[in-house]
């Protein structure tokens, strides 16, 4: 879409865009370019020089079992937490959309978690899920040793998944509810008139009509699980035990800032960037075409 009426003096027009362009050049394109350059060199930790190594950084990362472990952990985390957050939100939104008495309450309350900072909710869940105090301690009284995120990698992974899903249920809920409410009532009422039940209507009318939202949220949730997980991991598990929750962004941080391996961290950043770009392209191309719009 284009404007028919515009202003003539295009020099002034460019001036309006200059602040944004300066910002993204300085804080986006330059660092992104820098990351590419670093990933192709070995940077000395305290400055002083670098050596061109071509694709060696990528080779050594892709040959590293710890890196693959980090990718696997990220995938498990993304898969399960996205699934949980989306299914719970979908069910809650579909039911809220039935607009029974009191549904305003859910519309108000269910989005609270999304407003909370990841580290703050992580600290809350660290207490709630602590093996020695809080609530899992009760379970541990009954089955000693059942739950110990400090020692058992699966428990630690479960902890960060619960914390992340809790936050994103609210987010998904907003979008699902908006999508449900955009479906014309008359459509559903007509189907009801024809004698189709609630479940039938859900699968035949509502669900197909919200598939664009589902795919949109799928991509957003997976992307966010790569980024927004940092605070949760840092507060709850610090990547442990034994790297069980060393997600990709956390590994970039610990290799780059704690280990001072700028080049290795840059190469990992590039791989993660490619992954996110690929996801975004999938969202724009593939999904927008395949999913039938209303």
């Amino acid at each position: 879409m284009e404007k028919r009426v515009t202003f003539g003096r295009w020099t002034i027009g460019i001036l309006f865009a200059v602040p944004q362009l300066l910002l993204i050049f300085t804080f986006f394109y330059w660092p992104a370019g820098q990351a590419v350059y670093w990933s192709l060199t070995l940077q000395q930790p305290w400055g002083g020089g670098n050596i061109w190594v071509g694709l060696d950084n990528f080779r050594s990362i892709l040959a590293n079992a710890d890196y693959w472990n980090s990718i696997t952990a990220s995938m498990i985390f993304a898969g399960i937490s996205t699934g949980l957050a989306m299914v719970i939100a979908l069910v809650l939104a579909a039911l809220t959309d039935r607009q029974l008495a009191g549904s305003w309450l859910y519309r108000v309350v269910l989005i609270w978690p999304y407003g909370i900072a990841a580290p703050a909710l992580a600290l809350a869940f660290r207490f709630i899920l602590a093996p020695e105090a809080g609530f899992m301690a009760v379970v541990n009284r009954v089955w000693p040793g059942f739950w110990d995120p400090g020692l058992d990698g699966a428990d630690a992974m479960a902890s960060i998944i619960i914390a992340f899903s809790w936050k994103y249920v609210g987010y998904n809920f907003i979008f699902f509810l908006a999508a449900f409410q955009a479906i014309p009532r008359s459509l559903i009422e007509a189907a009801a008139m024809d004698g189709s039940g609630v479940l039938r209507r859900f699968w035949d009318i509502q669900f197909p009509l919200i598939t664009p939202t589902i795919f949109f949220l799928l991509v957003i949730n997976i992307t966010e699980s790569f980024q927004d997980s940092f605070g949760i991991v840092d507060i709850m598990t610090a990547g442990g035990p034994a790297n069980a929750t060393n997600l990709m962004v956390y590994k970039i941080y610990s290799d780059g800032f704690k280990g001072l391996d700028y080049s290795g961290a840059a190469a990992q950043s590039i791989i993660l960037m490619l992954l996110i770009v690929a996801l975004t392209i999938v969202q724009f191309r593939f999904i927008e075409r395949r999913v039938h719009y209303r």
């Binding site: 050596i51 590293n64 020692l151 442990g240 035990p241 034994a242 610990s254 704690k258 391996d261």
Partner: protein, 160 residues
């Protein structure tokens, strides 16, 4: 309850060696201006002063870094009463023997990465995910890889 501070026990028949020193360190890098070196020297003099050691240890809980600092604190009666009583054991443990090749402290390239790797493998061992031998083998392998990477970053250089 009666308890006290003591050095780590050693097996009967083994000789006690000094324990490894760890923690942060101060470095003066080359290639700075004369004025900066003057400042650095003044700062090191200040840190080196026994009176500074007393202040430092009292406020941070760390050990004094020099022998003279320790002697000064001892003669001042620092270690005689609670809550500082027993802290002299740390010095005894650190100076239990002449430092040997493997106990004189670690100076490694990419040390923080190797230390993180150490932590990871220890966690894997204690969580019973791998056997002790497996964990140590992986640690050696990964540690060597990290060292090799350091060597590639600084080709042709040796530690002074």
């Amino acid at each position: 309850m009666k308890w006290d501070v003591a050095e780590l026990p050693v097996y009967a028949g083994t000789e006690r060696k000094n324990s490894l020193v760890g923690g942060a360190s101060l470095w003066v890098l080359s290639g700075k201006s004369d004025a900066e070196y003057k400042g650095a020297a003044a700062f090191l003099n200040f840190i080196h002063d026994p009176k500074t050691a007393l202040f430092w240890s009292t406020n941070t809980g760390y050990i004094p870094v020099t022998k003279s600092g320790f002697d000064f604190m001892k003669s001042n009666g620092f270690y005689d009463k609670a809550p500082y009583k027993g802290r002299e054991v740390a010095i005894e443990s650190l100076t239990a023997s002449e430092p040997t090749e493997i106990t004189r402290g670690i100076r490694l390239g990419n040390f923080t990465q190797i230390r993180a790797e150490f932590g990871t493998q220890m966690q894997a061992i204690f969580a019973n995910k791998v056997s002790v031998q497996q964990g140590l083998d992986t640690l050696v392998k990964n540690g060597d890889a990290i060292l090799e990477r350091f060597q590639q970053t600084y080709p042709g250089k040796t530690l002074p």
